[in-house]
Symmetry: D2
Subunit: 145 residues, 4 copies
């Protein structure tokens, strides 16, 4: 049986049309941690056949948001305040994995570290690293602040 | 007649499967400037029917990359080194527009400022602002650095 | 006569030992805007006689914090949540000027854009640009969140 | 006996007037790693007696720059391209320690992760985390790019 936070995270993820568009799936949720998978396809490619940087960023943003969401109460929603990402290596491979981990969980703000790996022929390469700030909101119409 | 840089930018953009996946189009290219449009659809939504933050980030990243590309020589390719984005308002509307403008163009690195607007019922709202570093590369296999 | 927000900002600034250490002064405060000056001296130099990058960052951080503070109520304090800075040109000159401008002022979070200029022989050069998130806090012991 | 990279890093550090102004010292240099200490004093304080955020940023920037410098050849200089920092906890204590670690070392760009700790009564607190991009330059007048 899934506990409550896991159910909320998975349900929230499934409601995002964009994650379905690119074919991303939640692999693992723990309190303060979230792991997302995305298989390679032409849909998510840039001009040289690698994962598009914008897709890598979107995966990082989402891993951060859902890692933060796992620590919120049931009447709160995660809102991305900001994030920063460094691209370390070309994302060439069959699978992209983003791992978000909450570094500090405040009442309103979560600071999240994200690592994005690309898996190819059994080799895992760190392709990007990100730092994100996620706010808790009690209204879907609210914006961070 | 399109001049050379505009042709290269538009051709590069069209080769990106991901931009086609979400339905984005280049609206304008000038030396050091690029404007991209994305109409709203369920494909690019998050759970509340707004543009997904990851999509906003991808649009910002691409506007930065192609603004930088417009200033490169014909044997160079743009590579995203890193970027940072702040989300200022919910992206609710029919159209997303990302405007990338090169602030400083060095031989190898371009510093680019990006503003992302959402248009709804004739009203334009600044929904995100980003700062990006774009590298020039002479090899498609090369990574920044 | 100074109005209330200007008095609070100037008093807060003067209490910072570090700003006195480097010789920085507030030049201008408006609602949502702050301008800080720092004359060059050996105290703030790096190894080639330019303003140190860490000093430029500190000036950017402070211009952001006090621009945000100008919009807070009298029982609130500014706290830096995070910032990002791009260095565009060497900061060689007699005076450094940081200009912080609030882009969006939420109840708890202010998004601030900062431009840092270096003045030398009457020529003004944009040497850095920053984006910062400033939180409002009601307790000096509180941390963002 | 110090090897070559350590000598260069320590000499470069000692030439920075600003590091001397605040009282910072290099504690450790390894290839791709640098650790810097700063004892608390009124000189580096903000208005509540904590380490100033600008000082924390300057320490992070420098730890990143010198970690990158440790991997450069003898005719290269480190230049900060950009960095981003998240503040996780108030920096209250007797000593600040910044640890820079190179995540990826390219020919021209180093991506560096920095953790900043505050030590108080034997307890170590992670007060900030940063991501930086450091360029190698062959000219002191050159700017990144």
């Amino acid at each position: 049986m899934e506990n409550n936070f896991e159910h909320r995270v998975r349900t929230g993820f499934e409601k995002q049309g964009f994650m379905s568009t690119i074919g991303a799936k939640i692999e693992e949720v723990q309190p303060g941690f979230c792991r997302i998978h995305l298989p390679f396809s032409e849909r998510v490619a840039q001009q040289h056949g690698f994962f598009h940087g914008g897709v890598i960023s979107a995966m990082a943003d989402n891993a951060a948001g859902f890692a933060g969401y796992s620590l919120m109460s049931s009447d709160e929603q995660p809102l991305s305040v900001e994030f920063k990402i460094n691209f370390l290596a070309p994302a060439k491979g069959k699978l992209l994995e983003a791992r978000g981990k909450v570094l500090r969980s405040g009442r309103r703000l979560k600071h999240v570290n994200v690592e994005v790996f690309c898996l190819d022929n059994g080799i895992e390469t760190l392709v990007a690293i990100a730092l994100a700030t996620i706010a808790s909101s009690r209204s879907v119409k609210e914006i961070p602040g």
